[in-house]
């Protein structure tokens, strides 16, 4: 094809627009990592969580999370008897330093670690006006901070309160499932430090992943299933009061 000056003038802006699209949908690359062979999620075993806060601290250090903001946090639930609609919940500093001793003896007490649910049909990626946040082909919801406008629509759209605006970059931020680690064959920072194994990274596409056996033999739930977001963080032993 002959490239005339006129044709070049048409092609260049079109190519620029196409390149922007490609960039917006390209997650961080890692050698030897076959993106289509994975579909990441996480398993949270609530009865195993002791609320030590190690995961929150590890996440904060690994990802340089600013103080007062959380990619992951822990909630302590106290459900008095039958009042499952009105549980008492607390999360002082996101549970980063653990929790003070519980002085309430009646009812149920348990910890619930929270993080981005890496939803398959995520409302946050749906609303992003420029596609700066997206679901990667291996099922991780990521944010391209070099592209994010900082409009905060995604923060509003997340039903789980997992997003925030990083005051240093003025862009949306959230759990990336330690994408820089998992694409190199490592587990996430939070899973690595959890002393009881309450958090397990799960590759739903890998038939050898123990998650499959666990899902077969346990009753698991996702948070707010009525939101139909296709959440991929599965909770074992979750009480009906958790929201």
């Amino acid at each position: 094809m002959d490239i005339t000056r006129r044709r070049l003038l048409v092609l260049l802006p079109a190519a620029a627009v196409a390149w922007k699209y490609i960039q917006a949908g390209t997650p961080e690359a890692a050698p030897n990592y076959k993106i289509v062979e994975h579909w990441w999620g996480m398993l949270i075993d609530i009865p195993k969580c002791i609320g030590c806060g190690s995961c929150v601290r590890a996440c904060s250090e690994e990802n340089d999370v600013p103080d007062g903001y959380f990619r992951t946090w822990i909630e302590r639930y106290h459900v008095p008897d039958w009042k499952i609609e009105r549980p008492e919940v607390e999360s002082p500093d996101g549970g980063k330093q653990g929790f003070p001793p519980n002085e309430i003896s009646d009812g149920k007490n348990f910890f619930v670690p929270k993080l981005c649910n890496h939803c398959q049909d995520s409302p946050c990626t749906q609303v992003c006006p420029v596609g700066a946040t997206f679901v990667s082909p291996d099922g991780v919801v990521l944010v391209d901070k070099s592209y994010c406008l900082g409009c905060r629509y995604c923060v509003q759209a997340c039903p789980y309160g997992c997003r925030f605006i990083n005051p240093k970059t003025n862009t949306a931020e959230k759990c990336s499932l330690c994408y820089h680690r998992i694409t190199k064959g490592l587990t996430t920072a939070c899973c690595e430090v959890c002393p009881t194994g309450a958090r397990q990274l799960a590759d739903l596409k890998n038939p050898k992943d123990p998650i499959h056996e666990f899902l077969k033999t346990h009753t698991v739930q996702v948070l707010k299933p009525h939101m139909a977001t296709g959440a991929k963080v599965f909770y074992n032993g979750m009480d009906g009061s958790v929201r």
Binding site: D93, V130, Y147, L149, G150, A157, G161, T171, R243
Partner: protein
Amino acid sequence: MQIPVEGFMYPNEVELQWSVLIVLYPFITGLVAGAFILASLERVFRVEAVKPTYRLALLTALAFLLVAPLPLQLHLGHPERSLEMYLTPHRSSAMAMFGFVYLWYLMAVLLLEIWLDYRRDIVLKSQSTTGITRLFYRFLTFGSSNISERSLRIDDRLGYTITLIGIPSAFMLHGYVGFIFGSVKANPWWSSPLMPIVFIFSAMVSGIAAVMLLYMLSASLRGKEIDMRCVDKIAQYLMYTFIIDFSLEMLDLIQRIYEADESFRSLDFMVHTRLWTSQVIVQMLLGTVTPIALLALTQLSNFKELIRRRIYAIAGCLTVVGIFAMRWNVVIGGQLFSKSFLGYTTYKMSFATREGLLPAIVLMLLPFAFLWVLVKLLPPWPDARPASASGTAPAHGTT
């Protein structure tokens, strides 16, 4: 700054994401849509009585439309990237379409309609003025200086067609703003299919009230007699639109109360505490019930002109305040409660910061500055229309 929290909020929810600037955004676009719809009453539906406000309504819509994207721009974490919304829009995002809806409305509807309506005046001014003013008006003619009767008739017909397109466009502009909120399923305060239609009617209410007030104010400032036939008609339309708007809002409220879903208890508590003043007192009682009652009173009784004028002025002001409160309650109210439905946060408005009260006040005054300039350049008053040497009558309204 420590933000007071009651109950439990997810840790990232404590800080409000959308500030007073985002309250201004639907308020301003609402005024645009409402003012345009009032203008179209005369143009399309041939409501002759409101003719004196036709051009003023168009210029008001333009002045506010020029300011509409500014609060958004100021609010963005990276305003320098905002053009990406045009270059690489994410088609599933309601917000991404704003740029296109805005441009369509500004360029294809409002500017074109104003230009066609003013073309005769612009051409005559380019002939009767001198110096820079002459150059300016000559530029505004865009080379189209034929003001023969036939040419003006074409302008009129074209303007009519554009208004026809403009009405659904105005609905789209503001209904779409309602959709931005109404489609957020994570937030039960916003998520409602009624939201776009409530936004459209509240827009009409605020726009009609604003133009009515501006018309009365401008007539007083110019020392001219207020055309009471015109104002009476506008007040009548204001009342009808307001009743529809109020009914829709009540429908939404009754539905929520009757369904009482999982969010109800939390939202109900919020309305009775944090939003009591802004929602129940300002929006509902002062900003809705009172103006509707006042306007209804003028319909039922034969008040003297002076009293009617005062009632319209009070009702108009209360209406605009009420609609602003409605925008506030939607935007700010929707962020005061936790999505866990277990707690509440507080909105602390700063003053001289990027998203503080000061920029909000400046942004609210800016459209009036724009309107002042527009009115100076393109006087909207029927008595200020320049007469041509040949005495050609304006085509508009003659066909």
